[in-house]
Amino acid sequence: MRALIDQGVDKVFGYPGGQIMPVYDSLYDYSDKIQHYLARHEQGAIHAAEGFARASGKTGVVIATSGPGAMNLITGLNDALMDSTPVVAITGQVPSTLLGKDAFQESDVVSVTLPVTKWSILVRTPEEIAPAVAKAFYIANSGRPGPVVIDIAKDAQVGMAEYRHSSCNFIRSYDPKPEIDESAIQAAADMLNAAERPMILSGHGVTIAGAGSELIELAEKADIPVACTMLGLSSIPTAHPLNKGMLGMHGNLGPNINTNKADVILAVGMRFDDRVTGDTGKYAPGAKIIHIDIDSSEFDKTVGSDLHIHADAKEALGRIAALVNQTKHEAWVESFARHEKVETERVKKQELFPDNEDGKMHMGEVVNKVSEAFGHDAVLVTDVGQNQMFSVRYFSFSSPRSCISSGGLGTMGFGLPASIGAKIAVPERDVVLFVGDGGLQMTIEELGMIMEYNVGVKIILLNNNYLGNVRQWQELFFNSRYSATPMKNPDFVALANAYGIAGENVEHRDALGEAIERMKAHKGVYLLNVNIEEMGMIFPMTPGGHGVDEILLNSTEYYKPV
C-alpha cells in the first residue's frame, strides 16, 4: 500500500477474493489515503480504471484476485494495450509453494497476460513488491503507455519485509524517450514547406503527449488542415477552422477524400489502423508520408512512410512548428468545404433533422442535442457499435481528453464502467455516456458501482432493440438476414430505478429536448432511455476492403466528388 501511495495513487478499482485478501486487509488500514471502488465484476473494474486513466492521464489501478479474478481482467488488459492506456493491474496468486500444482483458483497469469500487456511479472517474495510496483508504474506510463500486471503470490503478500521506498526511472533494456533526430525534424519541415496540399493526421498519441497546443501552432502557422482518428478526437477543438473532421470508415467525406489528394501527410501518434486506411493499396497514392510515433514498431507496419520520426509527439511537433514557414494554402483548405457541403446535404441533415412521423429518433440528433445542452464541452464516453460511431461523429469537443471510446479492440461493455472511471477522475466535468442496448447489458452490473459511490454520469441509452451495427452489416452484406441481432429488452428505467438511479423513457422526438434538460438539471446520475429508429444506419461508410475515397452515402450510392 505504501508502494502505491508513493506512486501518487489515491483511487483504485477492484474486487476482492481469497488470494488477494492480505492486500485488501492492508487497504483497510489505508482507507484514509486510498479510496477503493468496488466493482461488480472484474471486467467492470478494469474498464473503470481505463476510463480513469483516459480522462486524467494518470495511471489507472485495478486489483483482483487469482484465477477467475485475474482472467476476468483479460479483455480490459487487451483493450488498454490496443488503446495505449496506462493501467496497473495487481492480482493475487496462490502461494509460491503451490505454483504449477493446479491449486484452487490458480491461473498462469503471467503467461496468459504476456500477449495482452506491456509487461507482466510474478512476485514471490515480500522484498520484491516495492521495486516491482515502482517499475510497473514507470513502464505503464512512459513511452507508449500500456497495461502492466503485477501478480503477487499470497505468501509474498503476508510475508514481512521492511518497506524501502523504491523509485524507478531507468531500465537498462528499455528506452521510452528516444533522442530526437534533428535532421529528421529539418527534413519534415522541408517537406511541409515544399508541400502544396499538406495534411496532418492527429491520433491518440497527440492527446497522450499533451501536444494539442503544438499541433495547433503548427497547423495555424503553415495553414495545414487537420484530420483526427477516432481516438485523436478532442486533440484539437471541433470548432477550430483547420479541424476538418474524423478519418476512417465512418469518418467525414473531406478528410477521407483528401487523404488521396494530399501531397504530404504528417501522421502523428496514429498507427494507420485498417479502419482508418481501408485498402492500403489504394491509400494516399500521391502523398509523401511523414510518420511521428513514440513506438518505432509502428513505422512501415501497414502503411510505408517516406520519413519517420521516432519521438514524443509534443517535442517533435513543437520543433517542426519552429522550422516551418508561415504560409497559406487557401485553395487546398477550401477544398474540404466542398465535401463538407455534400455531407451536410446528403447525410447530416437527414440524421440531425429527420421528419419521420412516428417520432422515433435518430442517434445523430440525440447526440447533437446532448452535446449542445452541455455546451459542447462534456467528456464523451461511448460504448461500441452504432452508438459509438454516431457519438464520435455528432459530438463536439472543446478541450483535450474529452473522447473516451474503445478504439482498437472495440470492446462492447466498455462504456458504462469507463464512464464511471472518467467521472471519478474528473468530477468537476460533465461526463456523458452514449451506449446501446446491447453493450449496456454486457456490464450493466456496474449500475451497482454508480449507486454505491454516487457517480454522477449522464447515461443516454440509444435503444433500438437491435445489435444495430451488426444488423446494419446484415442488411448491407448478408441480404437482411437478421441472425441473432433483434433483442428483447428489459424495462431499463425500472432497472435503473431499482438501483436508485433516476431516469425516464423518451418515446417521441418532441419530448427529447425537455428530457435532456431534466437530465442535465438532475443532480447526479440519470438514465435517458431513448427510443431509436430500429433500421437506422450509420453513413457515410467505406466498406471493408475499399479505398479510403470509395464512400457510400447510403446503402446504394457511392460519393462522386465533382
Binding site: L114, P115, W119, F170, R172, S173, Y174, D175, S297, D300
Partner: protein, 182 residues
C-alpha cells in the same frame, strides 16, 4: 515476395518468460521457428537468442521490431546468411556392426569432416559441425547404415561486424542513466 531463411539475434536480460515473450510474436503470425538456440553472450548478464525462420523480409523486419518492443529485450537484429558466420552441431548414432561391415569408417570421417565421439560394441556416435547442408550430407551417408538416432542443434551465429551490435545501445543507455541520476 519470396520466403527466405533469416537469422534473428535477440539480446535480452537474463529473466524468466523471455522465451515465451519472443515465441508468441512468431506464433501470433503462424510463423514456424526453424531453429532456436539460447545462451549467455560475451556481455555479462546478457543472454542471446539465435532464431532462424523462413519468411519475407518485411514480415521479419516487423517481427524484429515487435520483439525489441518487449521491455526486457535490449536489441534484436535481422541477418541474412552472408552477414554472419554460423554453425550447427549434429550427433548421429549408428550400430557399430554396420559401420564396421561397411568398411567406410575412415572415409566417413575424412570426407565429411566428422568426429567419432564414442564407440561401444552396440553403437558408434559421430559428431559433425557445419552448415545444414553438410549436416544433411552426413545424414544421407549414414542412413543406409541403419541410423538409430539423429539430433541437430539450432544455428548459432556471430556477426561479421567487429563489435557486439548491442554494445552501442548499452553505451547509450549508460549515458542516459548517468543523466537521470544527476
Amino acid at each position: 515476395m519470396e520466403n527466405q531463411l533469416f537469422t534473428i539475434s535477440v539480446f535480452t536480460e537474463n529473466q524468466v518468460s523471455l522465451l515465451h515473450q519472443i515465441s508468441m510474436i512468431f506464433s501470433r503470425r503462424c510463423l514456424n521457428i526453424e531453429s532456436l538456440s539460447v545462451s549467455a553472450c560475451s556481455i555479462p548478464g546478457v543472454h542471446k537468442f539465435t532464431i532462424t525462420c523462413k519468411s519475407t523480409r518485411p514480415m521479419m523486419e516487423h517481427v524484429v521490431k515487435q520483439i525489441e518492443k518487449r521491455i526486457e529485450v535490449l536489441r534484436a537484429f535481422l541477418h541474412t546468411d552472408d552477414e554472419i558466420v554460423f554453425q550447427e552441431v549434429a550427433l548421429y548414432k549408428v550400430p557399430t556392426s554396420s559401420v564396421l561391415e561397411s568398411g567406410q569408417i575412415e572415409d566417413i570421417v575424412r570426407q565429411n569432416g566428422a568426429r567419432v565421439l564414442e564407440i561401444q560394441p552396440e553403437y558408434t556416435v559421430f559428431e559433425k559441425t557445419g552448415h545444414t547442408v553438410e549436416v544433411k550430407a552426413l545424414f544421407d551417408r549414414l542412413k543406409p547404415l541403419g541410423l538409430r538416432q539423429f539430433v541437430r542443434s539450432g544455428r548459432i551465429a556471430v556477426t561479421k561486424a567487429t563489435l557486439e551490435l548491442v554494445d552501442e545501445f548499452l553505451e547509450r543507455q549508460e549515458k542516459r542513466r548517468d543523466r537521470l541520476s544527476r
